[in-house]
Symmetry: C4
């Protein structure tokens, strides 16, 4: 998928290449599609590389990334490619970076995320338990009952900020590196791009496993 290996320190040259290759891999898995989804990762001086909006994410090249400030989202550097606008995720990514000390955030439009949020019905969180893959989330053991906040969708992504801020501020969600957005998808983050990648893969597994197990229990009338 990528020629960049985790033992190579990520630089302002290699980070956009890695972000670009992750978008290609996620598009192949249908976690981002139809120009939906997004990603950001850190510059060496503490800003964020941010993918553009409204473009097919698997075609985003290293030179297409904006540099934005996580403090207020202002554009620090335009991409080499003209005619692009920064991702609508800008505000939400900045919020997560500030509130959680994250340095890389992904936005997934995967069907498994939508179906996992459905399982919460009207509740403000989904509990995930009984899976070894929980250990792939920083700080968790496979014995934990992991609480993933679920927030309501809103007409525009910047308006999601209030709901996300509430979820991130709730101390019961302190262990979560993801927020599910009902009918929409998930925001998933990590301390660096490699941890964000790991969390993205782990949470998608957790969502799929929880949905599949729920379906089996429903079929067998054990609810």
């Amino acid at each position: 998928m990528t020629l960049i290996h985790p033992d190579q320190p990520l630089t302002d040259a290699s980070t956009p290449e890695l972000l670009s290759s992750l978008l290609r891999d996620w598009h192949a898995r249908a976690w981002v599609s139809g120009t939906g989804g997004g990603i950001c990762g850190p510059t060496e001086d503490g800003n964020l590389f941010l993918a553009p909006t409204g473009v097919h994410k698997e075609l985003v090249r290293p030179e297409d990334f904006f540099v934005v400030s996580p403090l207020d989202g202002h554009v620090v550097r335009q991409p080499a490619t003209s005619g692009l606008r920064p991702s609508e995720c800008n505000t939400i990514f900045g919020l997560i970076v500030r509130e959680r000390g994250a340095r890389s955030v992904a936005h997934s439009h995967a069907l498994a995320a939508v179906l996992a949020a459905d399982l919460a019905d009207g509740a403000d969180h989904l509990e995930i338990a009984g899976l070894e893959m929980l250990k792939g989330i920083r700080g968790l053991t496979n014995l934990d009952v992991h609480r993933v906040p679920v927030v309501d969708n809103t007409p525009r992504e910047p308006e999601l900020v209030a709901g996300l801020a509430r979820a991130l501020g709730d101390p019961r969600n302190a262990g979560a590196f993801a927020v599910l957005v009902r009918d929409h998808g998930a925001y998933i983050w990590g301390d660096d791009v490699w941890e964000a990648k790991r969390h993205v893969e782990v949470y998608h597994f957790l969502f799929e496993a929880t949905v599949a197990r729920h379906a089996r229990r429903s079929k067998e009338g054990q609810r």
Copy 2:
């Protein structure tokens, strides 16, 4: 998937390359297979590049495309490759181009499209709602209830024209960029090849999500 990026204007040289790469991607996803499915996109002078019929669509090369008129489907230019015939979608693609001002149309044989049409039972449309990905359809918000027309299949694709013309002429379908054909698949279009690609990915997501949600509700006896 392709070396063509959305910031490069599509020309008569690059459009067939893009159409060819989309067919390869869609074959990998089983949206076109067994020589089924098809695609067209605009020439610079207002005609259509049209894939040939009866060939494995993922193997269609740029030099295999016909140029046809959207007005009456007549062949303006034969492909460099001999022995090919224009796609049976010719008449339907032309209809959609004329009726909707579309400039690129795809024909999907995806299982998800067949199963989504099944959900309509005998009705003439399927309603899709409660999904952020609706915003991937031009003009829609995630609050819309999106009406996708469903028409009956016919023995030959040119005969579908009457059903499709009726669906396209129904003002209640004015917001749709897709028509589902029962037992068959879907026609999906856009203002240019990039929008058609986006709509293809978005509608397949919407079909899969609607089918998966319906299955869950059936299992839980909430119908």
Copy 3:
């Protein structure tokens, strides 16, 4: 997937390359895996290129194919690679070539084929109907009810010959280009490698669609 296009006549040089590329594609789709599955295609002088047995099919190279006689399966030419034995499908492929005039036969171990055979319960065939993709089978329209014979599995593939011969000899199966083997998979063929490829893709779609529709009807209690 392959650099060979349908407009190039297949030769003794290109046929094994095409067969090899099909095995790679089918392994990626999990239609052949775990060394299971197989393929044959015609030599220019009326014999068959046959993949070796007991090897990972996606790694079979052009130089690994045997040439065997469809009349009695005897090896006409050993592959350049030493230490290989011809596929256990040899006898069955020869039977299908002789009985049906096929020139290329594939053997699938796809889960969808196993689940489709399950739907027949104890019966000797499965009926497939109501799908446009039926038109991808030579001679069929989308209005046909297509009868696919289902035979019982046996401990070894050569012993399947009797069951397959009975199925192929039954005039009610005259329109079938596939035989399902219970608990096992399917044999699928065509007049040449391109038709075999088309039939392989179409039958897998038909199996998946029939299984998915049956599951929906079961859930809704409409059986």
Copy 4:
């Protein structure tokens, strides 16, 4: 997937390349993800190439493998890449190598393995029957009822050793080349890397097929 063919004897140069290519293929299939999963294979002098822990497994390069002793897991040779630690599977892989004479072991985190272990409920094994693909397991026919041991998960992988040792020591499990770990995945092995690869593909098929058939029977109320 790999340029290494089964007719080439595996050496200390080619074995890590093959192991690396298998991890890439399995990541594409979501059998290893989120840095989970693992693999080992034999050195020419009877030790084991072992993947590192905590890294994205599809990015493990040939130079990233440790050489460890299967007797006690001690590191015989560090990888060329600095900063790596040997996989947590070390103890378990060594146990399987010693108890079963295996020379290559894989650790899968596939959802199908988790769902297959679920089917065992509290029992210590899962029975798999009625599938031709059983013949892909060394020593089995398609008529066998194959017993796959299922052990409980533990907080850390080295602690799994006791449960696995018990399962491997149970004579009723003598025919198994896999152990399912509840909520976790599976360990799957073979006499060499090629057999381990075959067993990995075959067991994943068996798990998927058994889960799919169970779901169908549940839906139809035949339990």
